[in-house]
Symmetry: C2
Subunit: 103 residues, 2 copies
DNA sequence: CCATGATATTGAAATATTTATATATATCGA
DNA sequence: TCGATATATATAAATATTTCAATATCATGG
């Protein structure tokens, strides 16, 4: 089942930052701990936490705790449905569909 | 032919504002003059011009002059391809396609 | 329970964005 | 060309965002 998608303003605002998109790229298809994300970006740990918080609030990441570490991964489903929602709202003449993978 | 789409950061930043989305909604399927857009929003004419400038720079609106007036309409094609691009970048597991209308 | 390591939160500085007022530019009709 | 109207630009104030240093919280091993 596809998730309920964000309001387009909230959705785009959550995405509209270079550092957040860098983080999103990093944990797009894998689970990374905060420390690993810090290593792979040029920003401090609190800054990474801040951006992860914004992404989390928007439902754009999933989290999993393992011991002291918290692992993050991008929620691609929410991302995809947000993109479709955006297109449905602002580009109705160019219908877009998600080709959901067979389960 | 589908246009070359924006960098995801530029694309989302252009969209990430409530006033701009209001303007985008207004001129989504119609041509509106700046004055008409001002009437239908709660902001002043310079503010509308400012936002139209941001949308124009991102290629998200088309313009047409008729006498003293300049008409704007949303470039749905750029919008749609930007959405697809975003999804391709950040949600590769949920492939999205534009169903281009038959020409 | 305490010390340690991982992540989150607080507070503040730097920067960017949004908005409005004032002004400039451009087009048209007389 | 002048005046009127439509839109754009410049400037500045208010607000929001990004970032970091300092500190707090949370989970684990001893």
């Amino acid at each position: 089942m596809l998730s309920k998608s964000l309001d387009p303003v909230d959705f785009t605002r959550a995405l509209a930052d270079e550092t957040r998109q860098k983080i999103m790229r990093l944990c797009c298809c894998q689970w990374l701990s905060v420390g690993e994300i810090v290593e792979k970006t040029n920003v401090t740990q609190p800054t990474v936490s801040h951006h992860l918080g914004i992404l989390r609030q928007a439902g754009l990441v999933k989290t999993r705790r393992s011991g002291k570490m918290i692992y993050y991964t991008l929620n691609q489903e929410v991302l995809a449905s947000g993109c479709c929602n955006l297109a449905e709202n602002f580009a109705p003449e160019f219908p877009i569909t998600i080709n959901v993978e067979n389960p």
